[in-house]
Symmetry: C2
Subunit: 166 residues, 2 copies
DNA sequence: TTTAATGCAAAGTGTTTGCACTATA
DNA sequence: TATAGTGCAAACACTTTGCATTAAA
């Protein structure tokens, strides 16, 4: 009896995903092979673009498919080295997110001290203002800024409102 | 024969240091004792205000005086909890610096990707611009921003110049 | 003098590595 | 089919903890 397993169907679908194909090229251009395991790890980020994933979360998802922790670590390390993933740290845990192909990325995170949620700030106006400061800095100090991480700590609007009620 | 040892003289001098006395109060207000070990760890930061210290560096200095690693870790953790120290991470290593008493601190670090040096950015104009963005964000999103960490990655002026020669 | 703090060693984390086996190009 | 990649377990590095001892208030 011929027939495709669940994994095969998944694989075929992944290979239709445009983001996956672009990143696959980056990986293979650098002499790495696109293995099932790397595809699985990578797809977690592509499927949940907005989420901030850590090794534990990814391993939980990927363990049932027989993928080991070391492979998760090795994949993520390669992806970070190749600039596919961006690492950032909150509360002693490393999180990762897709960096894609922006040349001068600006990563702004907001960590609420009460509900502990991490939010991305993507407000165009804010990002634009930050980029202007970068330019100022580069000129004034004769430096080259390739990457900026900004982490805000505070209270998000939800928790501020709850604070006022009490 | 009566006479003060080197350690006693150091202690007496530390107890004349204004910054030390202020921080000592914070520690004792929170029910902690000002022990010899905590004083030694703390003084590393006060004596090298501009430096970025990690546990290893502090332990190296303090080990000859018979202070253990666990005490270094325990001291630093308390200082971070009390808001005396600020923690930041570069290349998988935690660094610490004095936070002192600024209400809305803004920590801007520049990490050169070539020489790996970490520099503080203290330029008043830049900090002021950032604070204005904070205010904008707080109003626009109804949030409260208590703390901001900014990490630049790039090439410092030294390394840029060397790049151009080659 | 009481109780918090210390040093040591042991235990915990999170991450990397060596090696025999497996699967990709 | 050759070689890069994998899973596993062991090793590692960093950090925390239990406990008997010490020292600060």
């Amino acid at each position: 009896m011929s027939g495709k397993g669940v994994d095969d169907v998944e694989k075929i679908n992944d290979y239709k995903n445009e983001d996956f194909l672009l990143i696959k090229d980056v990986i293979e251009d650098n002499g790495y092979k696109m293995t099932t395991q790397r595809r699985e790890v990578l797809m977690q980020f592509i499927r949940n673009k907005e989420e901030h994933l850590n090794v534990e979360k990814i391993y939980d998802i990927v363990k049932p498919k027989g993928i080991g922790v070391s492979t998760v670590y090795r994949s993520i390390n390669i992806f970070v080295d190749l600039g596919i993933l961006k690492e950032f740290r909150v509360d002693n845990t490393n999180y990762y997110e897709l960096k894609m192909y922006a040349k001068k990325p600006l990563h702004i995170h907001f960590k609420c001290e009460k509900c502990r949620k991490i939010k991305d700030i993507t407000d165009k106006e804010v990002i634009f203002k930050y980029l202007r400061i970068n330019n100022l800095l580069e000129k004034e100090y004769n430096t080259e800024i390739n990457d900026v991480d900004i982490m805000f700590h505070g209270l998000c609007s939800n928790c501020i409102d709850k604070n006022n009620i009490n």
